[in-house]
Amino acid sequence: MAVISDVHRAVDLDDLLQRMAESEGRPRVLAGGTDLLLQYPAAEEESLALVDVTRVDALKRIEDGPDGLRIGAAVSLSDVMRSEPVLSRFGVLAEGAAVVAGPQIRNLATVGGNVCNASPSADTIPPLLVLNARAELRSKAGERSVALEEFFVGPGETVLEPGEILASFLLPWPQEDTVASYTKVSPRQAMDLAVVGVAVALERVDGKLVTRIALGAVAPTPLRATAAEEYIHSAGRLDEATAAEAGRLAEEAVSPIDDVRGSARYRRAMVRRVVARDLLRLYERLDGEVVA
């Protein structure tokens, strides 16, 4: 059982990156702590040095720029939910943040922590994926930006190198008329993990339907249902039949497990139904048309 040997409260980004670069003891980032403080006793290491990032102002900002909205990794889920630019342009991310656990946890937990914990069922990840989010990584050696889709390696595993941190997300400005939604399927209405999480974004580009579909809790990492996305694009229309086919293709992309929250069979069935349903609902919002 691991113990915490040290907690360093980083005062700014330089201090944080410096600490993270110190190889001894492989420091771990402590953000909201709502996952880490539950998990660390089971860590392999005998003792862990933590670096608290919640006082680093550079990681706590939400800033708009020409290339998109930049959300600091240490912004709490509550602040994400209430952020005006998030609500007005990236509402699906607010939807995801709002269904994580309960209010006390959302006040502590951060969006970067939810992503770095890399749980397949994290509720902010499918929304970020359909928003084409990029993860901006920093280390003492420099910085790099990766598409969020490439950030996850497996459950709890990311591409972060030792000494490297997730500093922010860049969400490219969507088209004015992009519509998106997140559906969390879970037995309880609060304080529960997703059995299936489905985020869908829909827009028209040059008159053609473009959709992005991201799925949580149905594979070792959250994933995009690209075959379903391409099918809608080439079909060029959304109706009961094409939505159902997209649902079927999304189901083919998943590899869920059986666990106490739900069986693999149930998860597959929910992916198929929720993807089809949400595509049609979004299409009504996009066009103001009611699909028969």
């Binding site: 915490i4 907690v7 402590l30 702590g33 403080l37 209010p103 006390q104 609060a190």
Partner: protein
């Protein structure tokens, strides 16, 4: 390590281990046993306190990271022996049975009404979704929140 915590307006010097949880420091070192440790996993809300006026589960906060923040526990709500309007409402509406969940739910209610003085029923339910009560069935808790809302808006 030695730290200074600001709890209910009073500074306390405490010796802690880096991994100590705030709920334990409050209860074991400072003898503030009003906050309860029901689960220690963030699920029950019995350990809810305010950190800079924001409700959080103190079982998921390291004491070391609470330094420099204003901590408010259930013990800090009454002024000169007068119960806080939220506490009084829980008494008046019999929203307390065994009482184990009560300090946490009251702290959450204080935080909720502070942020949203006139919540809808849905907002109250969402606001208290992280607090479990095994006794009351929540109906009286809903009434107590409404009662507190009324006294607090009369007072202000």
């Amino acid at each position: 390590m030695n730290i200074t915590l600001q709890v209910n307006g009073v500074e306390h010097q405490v010796g802690i281990d880096p991994g100590d949880l705030l709920i334990d420091t409050l209860r074991e070192n400072l003898n503030l046993t009003g906050s309860k440790k029901g689960c220690a996993t963030g699920d029950c809300g019995a350990c809810t306190i305010l950190l800079d006026d924001t409700p959080v589960t103190s079982c998921l906060v390291l004491s070391a990271t609470a330094v420099g923040k204003e901590i408010t526990t259930i013990e800090g709500l009454a002024t000169n022996g007068d119960l806080h309007p939220v506490q009084q409402a829980y008494v008046d509406f019999s929203a307390v049975q065994c009482g184990y969940c009560t300090p946490g739910i009251i702290m959450m209610t204080v935080g909720l009404l502070d942020e949203n003085p006139h919540p809808s029923d849905h907002e109250i339910r969402e606001g208290l979704a992280g607090n479990l009560c095994r006794c009351t069935g929540y109906s009286k808790i809903m009434l107590a929140v409404r009662g507190a809302e009324m006294t607090m808006s009369e007072d202000s």
